[in-house]
Amino acid sequence: MSTNGKPKFAMYWAASCGGCEIAVLNIGEKILDVDANFEIAFWPVAMDAKYKDVEAMPDKSILLTLFNGGIRNKENEEIAHLLRRKSQILVAFGSCACEGCIPGLANLSKPQDIFDTVYRSVSTENPDQIQPQYEFQMPEGQITIPEFYPVLKTLDQVVPVDYYMPGCPPESHQIAAVVDLVIQVLKGEATLPPAGATIGAGESTVCDDCPRERNVKTIKEFVRIQDVKRIDPDLCLLEQGIPCNGLATRNGCGALCPTASAQCIGCYGPADGVVDYGARLITAYASVIDSNDPEEINRILDGIPDPVGQFYRFNLAGSIMRAGTPAWRGNGSEGG
């Protein structure tokens, strides 16, 4: 790898799907600006690199690292620590690194159940019941694979993070804007936002970007979107009884889903000032239910069959309760 004087850029994926990488490549010709202004030091998806090459770099020698994915196993955590040491700016990139995202929902299950689903369920073709082992003795020597952790953690639960960039995945125009900003900072034309800030997103909620008409909400029934025969194209989805999470979700996506008549599922994470995303949604949903009778309220709430999935789909690992571990610890009594 030549050193051509350009600042170094790295991108890593931990427990993630790869969608964040695609979103980065999706910034179009801007990717050429990345190449013109940065030397790509480490990006396993895009180019060949070895961990030992990163280890050999001096500390703080990578200017910008975009880290996507949650911390699911020991390898993820080791690379998080390694890249933290080697990077000046570490960005939790995408919903998984920021708040756990879909992989974080596995915190509702205990590790053995996860293994059983992956290696032993009916839909898995594994006639010999083979399961990977952490250590295995081969004639050539002992081989190991990284240890699987009991819960998925977000990046900032493992190492300090400089900036957060939410989204599943972050919208390409937001990535392009952040790339532009960093390039401007390099040229001395702009300054970085304060540490710990959320970048590449708005400060308000998806509702503020949503073009639908909003009125006072009074809800007598929650319906699943697939059961709605005709969705009013101009009226707020929640007012039509469709559970839409735009109320508590950070804006920045341009309200793509509600504009296309699909409910917001909350991939941009909690808006500014929201301590616990799910709790904020509980407050919001409960406030718009139009009933004071416990039985009727319960009947209306039956329209949300999976409250945890509704309120913590992207946020479970990053919520106040973080790990949903209680679910697999049975009733919570010690020694149980």
Binding site: L108, K110, P111, Q112, F115, D128, Q129, I130, Q131, P132, Q133, Y134, F136, M138, P139, E140, E147, F148, Y149, P150, V151, V275, D276, G278, A279, R280, I282, T283, Y285, A286, S287, I289, S291, N292, P294, I297, N298, L301, I304, D306, P307, V308, G309, F311, S319, I320, M321, R322, A323, G324, T325, P326, A327, W328, R329, G330, N331, G332, S333, E334
Partner: protein
């Protein structure tokens, strides 16, 4: 010191009714267990579910929410909002593996000091029977190992 488990219960009380009921219980020298720690809100409608989740994740074993009887809210109808939030929060906590009995809603007027003290006692005993919630430990995975339990298969070299 005894070996019995002493639960920590956070009680959210309304300024206009249940806080005064608890006060009345004290004035009347009605005894209730010290396991319950009261926090006064202006109204049960002020209760953000975040408070409950934060209390539980911070080490509380149970949360008791109290407010004015339906129809008697100082702010007209905010206790109904508290009721709806409570019902939805309970469902959510259940999905997360927290027993619904750990979070409870009780209506109490300012005159019901004796009844409220009895509710406090009942709640403490119920949570004591459930045992500790111990949420903070779970956050760390609590030392649970992700060891793979099956026997290794023979692999031809």
């Amino acid at each position: 010191m005894t070996d019995t488990f002493e639960p920590v219960i956070i009680g959210f009380t309304c300024n206009w009714c249940s806080y005064r009921a608890a006060d009345l219980a004290g004035t009347a020298r009605v005894k209730y267990p010290p396991n319950i720690r009261l926090i006064r809100l202006m109204c049960s409608g002020r209760l953000d579910p975040t408070f409950v989740i934060k209390a539980l994740s911070g080490g509380a074993d149970g949360v008791l929410i109290t407010g004015c009887h339906p129809g008697e809210c100082h702010y007209i109808e905010q206790n109904y909002k508290a009721l709806r939030r409570y019902l939805l929060l309970r469902r959510t906590l259940q999905g997360l593996g927290v027993e619904p009995e750990r979070v409870k809603l009780v209506w109490a007027s300012a005159a019901e000091g004796v009844r409220l003290a009895a509710e406090f006692t009942k709640m403490v005993e119920e949570v004591r029977a459930l045992g500790p919630l111990n949420w903070p430990n779970w956050l760390q995975g609590n030392g649970y190992s992700a060891k793979i339990e099956s026997q290794p298969e023979e692999v031809a070299a």
